[in-house]
């Protein structure tokens, strides 16, 4: 039975199980009526259905994921003697051949009879495997349904048990997300530790020279790369600072305008338009920065007698700032709106003007939330990649001059991993170390921001 059909059958069985459980509970309630049951009849049905479906599906999952390995081993063991002394790598190739033939039924002229026989064998094993899986899974489902049917009695706490199972499901889903995150973090961490075996951590954190060109052959020039990340950190900070310099005033002022001055109609037009900015893909911003803003700045600089690089921190920072404006404005707008109207009324009733009220009552009241929003925006700026890749440059120069090209942590991660890589060279591993730095910084910013925002929320709840 193919897997999809099997799934359909299990679904059907589950529906039947639900019905059986429901009927059974009403039966055992007998003359005393369903009120004598611990739970509503539908919960007995649900519980039965869950016991019918879940173990069967789990067994099916495990079976399918294990079957291929088992069958492969069996097939390889059956191969003629001259295959038995092959290396594991060669065996893998042979196995691939077998599977190709089995899977596509194509006659490969070069393959030997032994391989063809093995493919036949492989197919038959697969059929047997699927058939026995169907039998096992279906009987398990039916067995458990029958078991539940037997044990249903008025004192069975079906609702509690069902809800417990549901709770476990929720727990597992959230665990899955958390475990994935933890997995990523751990892998980044371990790869970084490997990197720090090759390059001392002090050199990475405090070195002023970044040129990760490891020679492929020992006799090449520049045989040793330099992994001092300070120019990248400085570049990142420079671009982010320029971005925040643009985003914070514009975002904050537009938030104040929208929430305090604009009437409802204007607000209903402006706010979505601002939020459209947030929906523009960053690569589009990157194109804009590289092809429009950067040349413009260059020309403008020339006319002023300034030397502006064609890729500059300024161009990237300005465009990134525009990108972040909606972040700052919509978060600030939310917190400003969350300041209760009664505080405004209080200030107005004392004869405060609107601007006094905004400056002296509303902004201070909303400040923690605004700060939280800004911190989130900073972490966004630091992690932003596309714009800087396209507009900030690749050369790691240690400078604070916004008119020069700089490079950032994210840009270097991209360049380190683009193209063919040797997986355990220092150059590749450096990307993990940079990623780790990025992760640590943005995590810290997020934690602080969340903490600040939460404190703010508590104040008004």
């Amino acid at each position: 039975m193919p897997v999809s059909n099997l799934l359909l059958v299990i679904l059907g069985l589950t529906a039947i199980a639900y019905y059986l459980g429901l009927r059974r509970s009403i039966r055992v309630a007998g003359a005393k009526g369903v009120r004598s049951l611990e739970s509503l009849p539908s919960y007995y049905g649900l519980l039965t259905a869950v016991w019918c479906a879940v173990p069967a599906l789990l067994v099916m999952l495990v079976w399918i994921s294990a079957q291929d390995a088992v069958i492969s081993n069996l097939v390889l063991a059956q191969l003629p003697a001259d295959y038995s002394h092959m290396s594991p790598a060669q065996l893998t190739l042979v196995l691939n051949d077998i599977k190709n033939i089995a899977g596509q039924n194509i006659e490969n002229a070069t393959s030997s009879d032994a391989i063809k026989a093995a493919a036949e064998h492989y197919l038959s094993l697969q059929r047997i495997g699927l058939a026995s899986m169907s039998v096992v899974v279906l009987s398990l489902a039916m067995l458990l349904t029958a078991l539940l049917w037997k044990i249903i009695h008025p004192k069975l706490q079906a609702r509690q048990q069902f809800e417990f199972i549901i709770k476990v499901f929720f727990l597992l889903s959230s665990l899955l997300a958390i475990l994935t995150t933890v997995g990523i973090v751990l892998s980044v961490l371990f790869e970084s530790i490997r990197f720090f075996h090759l390059v001392p951590i002090s050199e990475f954190l405090f070195g002023l020279d970044w040129s990760p060109q490891i020679a492929i052959r020992a006799d090449q020039q520049a045989a040793s790369g330099a992994f001092g990340a300070v120019p990248l950190f400085v570049g990142t900070l420079l671009v982010s600072a320029i971005a925040m310099f643009v985003a914070v005033p514009i975002g904050l002022m537009s938030a104040i305008y929208l929430s305090e001055y604009a009437d409802r109609k204007l607000r209903s037009i402006f706010k979505p338009m601002l939020e459209v900015l947030a929906g523009i893909p960053t690569v589009v911003y990157g194109v804009f920065a590289a092809l429009t803003v950067a040349p413009f700045l260059r020309q403008f600089g020339e006319s002023m007698g300034l030397d502006v690089a064609s890729e500059s921190a300024l161009a990237a920072g300005l465009v990134m700032g525009i990108m972040i404006v909606p972040f700052v404005s919509s978060l600030s707008d939310d917190v400003i709106n969350a300041v209760p109207q009664s505080l405004r009324d209080g200030a107005y009733s004392l004869g405060a003007t609107q601007s006094e009220t905004i400056r002296q009552v509303i902004i201070p009241a909303a400040l923690p939330g605004i700060v939280g929003g800004i911190l989130l925006a900073i972490s966004r700026a630091i992690g932003e990649t596309m714009i800087v890749v396209m507009a900030a440059g690749l050369s790691a120069r240690l400078t604070l001059n916004p008119l020069e090209a700089v490079t950032t942590v994210t840009v270097q991660i991209v360049t380190l991993l683009v193209g063919d890589q040797e997986f355990d060279s220092a150059k590749t591993l450096a990307a993990f170390a940079l990623g780790l730095m990025l992760f640590v910084v943005t995590l810290a910013l997020n934690v602080i921001a969340l903490h600040v925002v939460r404190r703010y929320r508590e104040q008004y709840e």
Partner: protein
């Protein structure tokens, strides 16, 4: 049926059998407004309102209210919940301007000048007509700064000493000083509800408004603090004009000279407090103050 009622305790006995009948007779549909009973004019009016209608969007909350508020008098506004007391009192310093859907029409004058005229500066108006809100709304600033805020924005103190003096005396008069004198730096929001209410009263009197609007200033206060606020109101009356909304008959009777009874957005009756409480002219007023309705 008892006609006259003692001021100190609205009579609650003799009420049970009558209740169901009376409630029915005061349903919306049964209520027909035929004009305010009693004298709406005050001898020496400070604020004058004529034919005031207030709408929240489509819904009318105040219907054709005309009422004078006399100089140096305390006028109490009473009436069942939702009858429009807050709405009306908020018209008197144009606090309703902050509610987008709220439209006010009619005539409201302060010292014979319309406060809704084009040239009226609302900021000026609110500096002259202060307000204590139904729900305490201290700023998230320190206790001291809460009181000092209005004084500062109006430049009422020329130096730190003077400012401190105003703050301390306002807190004293609001009966809060003893409780907060050791924690003037604590956030105003950290005080208890009743303390916050008194803080808001202190904040309002610190800027010396000429007219003070109080919307249930004692709703969160214990009897002792209430007595203190009532004392304050008595004391303020010598120099100021006060409109107070209250749900407590006793309080209205104790602090006010005139009383206005609102019902479903209409001003049903207004008169001398002693008359309204001992000898109400309108049936609805009588039902309300004797506790049969509302």
């Amino acid at each position: 049926m008892q006609k006259s009622v003692s001021i100190e305790q609205p009579v609650m006995d003799n009420m049970q059998p009558a209740k169901s009948i009376m409630v029915q007779s005061s349903k919306d549909t049964d209520f027909e407004f035929t004009g305010t009973v009693g004298n709406i004019a005050a001898a020496n009016p400070r604020m004058v309102t004529r034919n005031v209608d207030v709408f929240y969007g489509e819904k009318q909350a105040i219907f054709d209210v005309s009422l004078d508020i006399g100089t140096n008098e305390v006028i109490a506004m009473i009436g069942p919940s939702g009858c429009g007391k807050s709405t009306f009192i908020r018209c008197l310093n144009r606090m309703n301007d902050t509610i987008e859907s709220c439209k006010v029409s009619g005539e409201i004058r302060l010292d014979d000048k319309s406060i809704y005229r084009k040239k009226q500066d609302v900021v000026q108006l609110r500096a002259r007509v202060g307000m204590v809100f139904q729900k305490p709304n201290p700023f998230p600033k320190s206790v001291y700064d809460n009181v000092a805020y209005g004084v500062r924005i109006h430049g009422l103190a020329s130096n730190k000493m003077e400012l401190e003096e105003i703050v301390v005396s306002s807190l004293r008069r609001a009966g809060l000083w003893d409780e907060v004198k050791d924690r003037l730096d604590a956030p105003g929001t950290s005080l208890s509800g009743g303390q916050q209410q008194r803080l808001c009263i202190a904040r309002t009197i610190a800027v010396n408004p000429e007219v003070i609007l109080m919307d249930e200033p004692c709703s969160a206060l214990d009897p002792i603090a209430t007595a203190r606020i009532e004392e304050l109101i008595d004391e303020l009356r010598e120099n100021y004009t006060i409109a107070i909304v209250t749900h407590s008959m006793q309080q209205a009777a104790r602090v006010s000279q005139r009383t206005a009874y609102f019902h479903l957005g209409y001003l049903v009756e207004v008169g001398e407090t002693s008359q309204v409480f001992t000898n109400p002219a309108h049936k609805l007023t009588e039902d309300y103050i004797t506790g049969r309705f509302g």
